[in-house]
């Protein structure tokens, strides 16, 4: 089995985001870029599956849509243990554009399982994985918190509102992964970092796709009112305040 993990390149969560050009664009100055946290969990699970010989997973490839400046993020995925990488040489215009490009990658090389994080921490669209599956006309399973391969069949745990289900789907399929799939992302060891330098990143040119959406303006959240402190010796006062001021209890 071959696994493809789609990775996105996002600002580290602790980055204080700022915008430029009349609040129409992200200010990329001083941003620390990382692999999107859910994509990193996908990659971790894919590598765990490959490590277990009984699963029959032969390779883990990562795919990414982004310009050459995003290659350090791809190298990190290779250093963690991905076997090879594909980069579509384009600015990721919107989720529809990205999913269309990834669909071309999958059409060129066959994969059995395609894994995507449930959302990316920049535009929070929760869209690419399911869009990719629809472009390919293959099944997708969302909110996946468990993925195993037994007797050449994928056994998937998905979260539903109010519980969990164990499901199976035929390959190829897209697994849209959330927390629970793997515990801690792997840390690249020095050997992995050295090996990653010689692993290939295949660069392919994008297909012409018009994005369907346009981000025209960003704004920062309105500041909340200053915190009203209650004397810790009299916590009951808090309940009175919540009752009188918020009317919620």
């Amino acid at each position: 089995m071959k696994i493809l993990v789609c990775i996105s390149h996002v600002p580290d969560t602790t980055t204080k985001v700022k915008f430029v050009d009349g609040d129409t664009k992200l200010d990329t100055n001083g941003i620390q870029w990382v692999i999107n946290p859910w994509d990193e969990l996908s990659l971790t699970r894919a590598l765990e599956l490959k490590d277990n010989a009984s699963t029959g997973v032969s390779s883990v490839t990562v795919a990414h849509v982004g310009p050459a400046t995003t290659e350090p993020t791809i190298r990190k995925a290779l250093a963690i243990g991905a076997d090879n990488a594909i980069r579509v040489n384009a600015d990721p215009a919107d989720a529809y554009f990205v999913a269309a490009q990834l669909a071309e990658v999958v059409k060129q090389e066959q994969f059995d399982i395609i894994m995507c994080g449930i959302e990316s921490s920049d535009y929070n669209g929760s869209a690419v994985g399911s869009m990719l599956a629809e472009f390919l006309d293959i099944p997708s399973v969302s909110a996946v918190s468990g993925l195993n391969i037994e007797n050449n069949e994928a056994i998937i745990t998905r979260e539903i509102d109010g519980g969990k289900e164990t499901v199976t789907v035929p390959t190829p399929f897209v697994a849209i992964v959330q927390k629970g799939i793997a515990k801690e992302p792997r840390i690249a060891a020095m050997r992995g970092i050295m090996m990653a330098r010689s692993k290939p990143i295949k660069v392919i040119e994008p297909v012409a796709i018009d994005p369907l959406t346009e981000y025209v303006k960003f704004e920062l959240p309105k500041p909340r009112a200053a915190c009203k402190f209650v004397d810790p010796e009299n916590p009951k006062e808090l309940i009175t305040l919540l009752q009188n001021e918020t009317k919620l209890i």
């Binding site: 289900e165 499901v167 918020t246």
Partner: protein, 321 residues
């Protein structure tokens, strides 16, 4: 042209979330000068279907098929796409919950319709059609223009108040023909008798400051007295003190209750990212420099073990228990 609202049902029942979606959809329909159609899949009785009229649905379609018993994202997408095309819907409204996230993006590709996901307000304008959505995990918001003729919106749970807007509703049942599902459900584990975290209007959440999984008793009692749900921060779920379904934060559940009570949670950026949509945040922490106090409207600098039992007593008093 109509606005189409996909209203999920749970074993034949609608939840507050469904009424939020219909209320939202009917307001969008007003903005566009059109009607609202709600569509649901499964076995739902007439009384239940009629309740959607109370929140502004002009028409309710109930699709029935053995093949649609469980969520299969392809089949559900095809079904909703067919209804949208038959109804000539220009805007499709879906919840931004697990099932909504599995359907809406597929529908966007199928109908070549722009998707505005995780929207938290009515559109800022209908020409150009511009929605307001959370970005950078709550650190910013964006104005997004949906450029296609048909638009899809996924609405964040608890972000839009239910508005009564009674309509003379027309209910239709449709025997829906589909292929066999590819997603086969082997086992279901339902969480019973417990309020879902994503549905809760009040959430009481504990962090590492709770010191031990054995100390959760008063926190759970407070949540129960307030009619709320319990949650936790990431280190707590990573340590196995609480199940990971309770983890709120950037990689856990994103929630937007009316009241979020954070106990012994310092308020790391990743945690705030998951709860910043809450209307009110209360923080209880013994470190007065904890970042959670920067986003909280009410705070107590004190020891959770001492404060929680007193809060429980105070709520019991006002509830007359």
């Amino acid at each position: 042209m109509s606005v189409l609202v996909y209203t999920e049902n749970w074993d034949g029942k609608f939840k507050k979330l469904s009424y939020e979606l219909v209320s939202y959809g009917s307001k969008v329909a007003e903005m566009l000068g059109t009607t609202t159609t709600a569509v649901t899949i499964g076995n739902v009785n007439d009384d239940e279907l009629n309740t959607l009229g109370k929140y502004g649905a002009d028409k309710v379609l109930c699709l029935q098929s053995e093949n649609l018993k469980n969520l299969d994202s392809q089949l559900y997408t095809n079904a909703i796409a067919k209804v949208a095309q038959d109804e000539g819907s220009k805007v499709i409204v879906i919840s931004n919950n697990n099932s909504g996230k599995s359907i809406a993006p597929r529908l966007s590709v199928k109908l070549k319709a722009a998707l505005g996901s995780g929207v938290s307000q009515l559109p800022l304008s209908t020409s150009p059609f511009t929605v307001y959505k959370r970005t950078f995990s709550g650190a910013a918001f964006a104005h997004v223009v949906l450029k296609t003729d048909v638009k899809i919106i996924t609405l964040t749970q608890n972000s839009f108040d239910i508005v009564e807007n009674s309509k003379q509703v027309k209910v239709e049942r449709v025997d829906f023909q589909t292929d066999a599902p590819k997603t086969v459900v082997k086992d279901v584990q339902k969480q019973t008798g417990k309020l879902l975290l994503t549905d809760a209007e009040i959430v009481v959440s504990g962090g590492r400051g709770m010191k031990s999984p054995d100390n959760w008793g008063p926190l759970e009692e407070l949540a129960e007295l307030l009619g709320g749900a319990t949650a936790c921060s990431r280190p707590v779920s990573d340590e196995g003190w609480r199940p990971h379904e309770e983890h709120t934060g950037q990689t856990g559940k994103i929630i937007a209750p009316n009241l979020y009570i954070a106990v012994g949670i310092s308020g790391a950026t990743q945690h705030i990212a998951g709860v910043s949509g809450s209307k009110y945040i209360v923080a209880i922490n013994n470190d007065k420099t904890a970042p959670i106090f920067e986003v909280a409207q009410y705070g107590i600098v004190g020891d959770a073990q001492k404060v929680l039992p007193q809060l429980v007593e105070a709520v019991k008093e006002i509830k007359g228990k």
